[in-house]
C-alpha cells in the first residue's frame, strides 16, 4: 500500500468512525444533562434576597 493509500484509508475510515462515535455519544447522552447546562440561570444576591 502506498503512502497515498494509507492517507485515503485513514481519512475515510477515520472520518466515518468519528462521525458515528459522535452521533452515538449525542444519542446516548442523557437528555437532561444538556438541558441543565443551558438552563442554568444566574441570580444576583439582591435578587435572591428579594425572592
Amino acid at each position: 500500500m502506498t503512502f497515498g493509500g494509507w492517507m485515503v484509508m485513514i481519512l475515510s475510515v477515520g472520518s466515518v468512525s468519528g462521525l458515528f462515535l459522535w452521533c452515538l455519544w449525542k444519542v446516548l447522552m442523557p437528555p437532561d444533562k444538556s438541558e441543565k447546562l443551558h438552563g442554568f440561570s444566574f441570580e444576583t444576591p439582591d435578587e435572591k434576597a428579594d425572592s
Binding site: 500500500m1 497515498g4 484509508m9 472520518s15 452521533c23
Partner: protein, 571 residues
C-alpha cells in the same frame, strides 16, 4: 386501533440504520471503490453524501414526521399531505411499489445468505477452484433452468426461503416496537460484533501463501485504497489496451522488467484528477451513496411518520446515516477485498460484481482460510442479519398503506401483504434461469423507480413545500439545526445533481452509451423488452404494473385521502 409508536430514539435509529445496512455495504461498495481507485472514488463518494445523501435523508425524515402527525403513514398519504392537488397522492404509489417489490426478490437473496451460513456450519462447502464455487452457487440459486432453485435440500434454497419469509412476517406481525425495533436493537449490535470478528481475522491474515508473498493483506488494502492506479498496458492496432492492474512493489518491479524486455508494453499511472474526470466514477459513487442509504425507498417516510414532533429527526437522520457509513467504509472497506486479494490476487477479484464477489469468490477464500468454516459461517450469517434488518423495513410501508387505505388491523394487513409478496417471491425463485426475473425487477424497480421517487421527494420538499419552512419544521425538537448551507444544496444542488446523475444513468444503462468510446448499444434490459422480447422479463414488468394498478385503485378509493388537510407549520 391504537396508533403505533417507536419506543425509544435509539430503537428508531437502529431500525433506520438496519434498513440501510445491507449486502451493498460489504459486497458492492468495496468493488466500486477498488474499480475506480480509492482516493478519487472517495472524493466523489463523500461529495455525493453531502449533496444527495444527507439532504434527501433529512427531507424524508421531515416529510414523514410531519405527515405522520396528521395521520398519514404511507407514501401516498405523505404526498397527499404535501402536494395540494387531487393527483398528488398518486405520486406516492411508487413509494409503496418500491419497497414491496424489492422485498419480493431481496428475501430470496437473504435466503441465499442463510443457506451459505448453514452450509458452511455443516461442512457443505469445500471448493478447490473458482469453477467449483461457481457451480455450487449456480445450482443453489437455480441459474441453469427455471424451477431449478425450488427444492428442499440443504444445498437448495427452498427451506431457507420458507424460513426467512416466515421470520420476516412473524417479526412484522409483532408490530413496530415489539417486532422491528426489538429485532434491530439486538441484531445491529450483533452485526457490529460479527463484523469486528471478521475484520480482526482478515487484518491478521498476512500473506497466507508463503510461495506468493505479494498476495498479502497490505497489498489487498492497497488495491482497495491506493489513490493512483498502476496499469500494465499493451500496444495493439487500436492503441494501448489494459493488460492488468499492478498492485504491490514486487509486482510492479516484475512488470518493469517485462516492459524493459518488450517495447509493446508500458506501465501507466492513472492519478486522482484523471479518475475524477470520468463520468462513470461519479455515476458509481453517487449511485452507491444513493442505494446504500436507502433514500428514495419510501421506508424512511413511513418510519419517521411514527415519531412525535418532539423527537429529534436531525440527529436521528445523521446517526442512521453515520451508522451506515461506518459499516460501509469502516468495515466493508477493510474486510471483503483485502481478504479476497490475499488469497486470489488482483486477477481473482478485479471487476467482480456484487453476487460474484459474495457468493463465488468469498466462499473460496473462506475455504482456503484457517478455521474458514467458522469464519465463512460467521460472515454469511452477518450478511443474513444485514439483509433481514433491511427486508423488515421494506414490509412496513406496505403494512402502513393497507392499514391506512382499508382501515384494517395488523392481522389482516399482514395476511394480505404476505399473500402478495409470497406470489412475488415464488415468481422470482421459480424464474431463476440466469436470474432473469430478479435482475429485471432490480433494474426497473430497485434502481430506475428509486431515482424517480427520490427526485420527486426532494422537489416536493424543496420547491413544493419550501426548503426554509421544511428546515424550520425539522428543527423542532432537534438538538442542533440543519446548517444553513443546506438551503441552496436542497433547493438547487441536490435536484440538479440527482437529475444529472439520473440522465447519465439512463444514457449508460438504458441506451448503452459508453463514455470510453465505442458504438452505443441498447442495454440488455431494454433488449429483453423491446428488441428480443423475453417472456420472463415481460412477466416481471407485468407483475410490477399489476401491483402498481392495485395500489392506485386502493389510493383512488381510500376515504383517508379524500379529506382536505391543513399543512401549515405549527409554531
Amino acid at each position: 386501533m391504537a396508533a403505533e409508536r417507536w419506543s425509544s430514539r435509539l430503537g428508531v435509529i437502529l431500525a433506520v440504520a438496519g434498513s440501510a445496512v445491507g449486502l451493498g455495504n460489504f459486497l458492492r461498495f468495496p468493488g466500486q471503490a477498488a474499480q475506480y481507485g480509492g482516493g478519487a472514488f472517495m472524493i466523489a463518494y463523500f461529495l455525493s453524501l453531502l449533496v444527495i445523501g444527507l439532504p434527501i435523508c433529512w427531507a424524508e425524515w421531515t416529510m414523514g414526521r410531519m405527515a405522520g402527525r396528521h395521520g398519514f403513514n404511507a407514501a401516498p398519504g405523505v404526498f397527499h399531505f404535501f402536494v395540494r392537488h387531487r393527483w398528488g397522492k398518486y405520486l406516492g404509489v411508487i413509494g409503496v411499489v418500491i419497497p414491496v417489490v424489492i422485498y419480493m426478490y431481496y428475501v430470496v437473496i437473504e435466503a441465499w445468505c442463510l443457506g451459505y451460513a448453514v452450509n458452511f456450519a455443516f461442512g457443505g462447502i469445500h471448493f478447490n477452484s473458482g469453477e467449483e464455487s461457481g457451480r455450487f452457487f449456480s445450482r443453489f440459486i437455480g441459474a441453469g433452468a427455471n424451477g431449478g432453485a425450488i427444492g428442499f435440500h440443504w444445498d437448495q434454497v427452498g427451506y431457507y426461503l420458507l424460513f426467512v419469509f416466515i421470520l420476516n412476517f412473524t417479526l412484522i406481525y409483532r408490530g413496530l416496537s415489539k417486532g422491528i425495533e426489538w429485532f434491530c436493537t439486538w441484531a445491529m449490535p450483533a452485526l457490529l460484533l460479527l463484523a469486528f470478528v471478521i475484520l480482526l481475522r482478515v487484518l491478521t491474515l498476512g500473506a497466507p501463501d508463503a510461495g506468493q508473498p505479494e498476495k498479502n493483506v497490505l497489498n489487498g488494502l492497497g488495491f482497495m485504497w491506493n489513490p493512483e492506479k498502476v496499469l500494465l498496458e499493451k500496444q495493439t492496432d487500436g492503441g494501448w489496451t489494459k493488460e492488468r492492474e499492478l498492485v504491490g512493489r514486487e509486482i510492479i518491479e516484475s512488470a518493469e522488467r517485462e516492459v524493459a524486455a518488450d517495447s509493446k508494453l508500458r506501465i501507466r499511472r492513472v492519478g486522482v484528477i484523471e479518475q475524477l474526470s470520468k463520468p462513470q466514477l461519479w455515476l458509481a459513487a453517487a449511485g452507491q451513496i444513493f442505494f446504500s442509504l436507502s433514500v428514495g425507498f419510501g421506508v424512511i417516510l413511513t418510519y419517521a411518520s411514527y415519531l412525535s414532533r418532539e423527537d429529534d429527526i436531525v440527529l436521528s437522520g445523521l446517526s442512521a446515516t453515520s451508522a451506515n457509513e461506518f459499516f460501509e467504509v469502516g468495515l466493508g472497506g477493510l474486510i471483503t477485498l483485502p481478504a479476497a486479494f490475499a488469497f486470489l490476487g488482483v486477477a481473482g477479484v478485479a471487476g467482480m460484481g456484487t453476487f460474484a464477489l459474495g457468493f463465488n469468490v468469498l466462499p473460496l477464500v473462506f475455504d482456503k482460510m484457517p478455521f474458514g468454516t467458522v469464519f465463512g459461517c460467521v460472515f454469511f450469517f452477518l450478511l443474513f442479519l444485514a439483509a433481514i434488518t433491511s427486508s423488515l423495513s421494506m414490509l412496513q410501508p406496505g403494512i402502513a398503506f393497507l392499514e391506512e387505505v382499508l382501515a384494517i388491523g395488523r392481522k389482516q394487513s399482514v395476511t394480505i401483504l404476505g399473500l402478495i409478496t409470497g406470489v412475488g417471491s415464488v415468481f422470482v425463485v421459480y424464474f431463476s434461469k440466469d436470474l432473469k426475473a430478479l435482475d429485471t425487477l432490480d433494474f426497473w424497480v430497485g434502481t430506475f423507480l428509486i431515482f424517480i421517487l427520490a427526485t420527486t421527494q426532494i422537489l416536493v420538499f424543496s420547491w413544493g413545500f419550501g426548503v426554509r419552512k421544511g428546515l424550520e419544521e425539522a428543527a423542532h425538537g432537534a438538538s442542533f439545526r440543519i446548517p444553513g448551507i443546506f438551503i441552496p444544496v436542497m433547493k438547487i444542488l441536490c435536484p440538479a445533481f440527482l437529475i444529472t446523475i439520473f440522465g447519465l444513468w439512463v444514457l449508460v444503462n438504458v441506451f448503452g452509451v459508453s463514455f470510453g468510446g465505442g458504438e452505443p448499444e441498447f442495454s440488455g434490459y431494454v433488449r429483453d423488452l423491446f428488441i428480443n422480447p423475453d417472456p420472463v422479463a415481460w412477466l416481471a414488468i407485468g407483475l410490477v404494473a399489476g401491483f402498481a394498478a392495485f395500489v392506485s385503485l386502493l389510493v383512488a378509493r381510500a376515504p383517508a385521502y379524500r379529506r382536505e388537510i391543513q399543512r401549515e407549520v405549527e409554531p
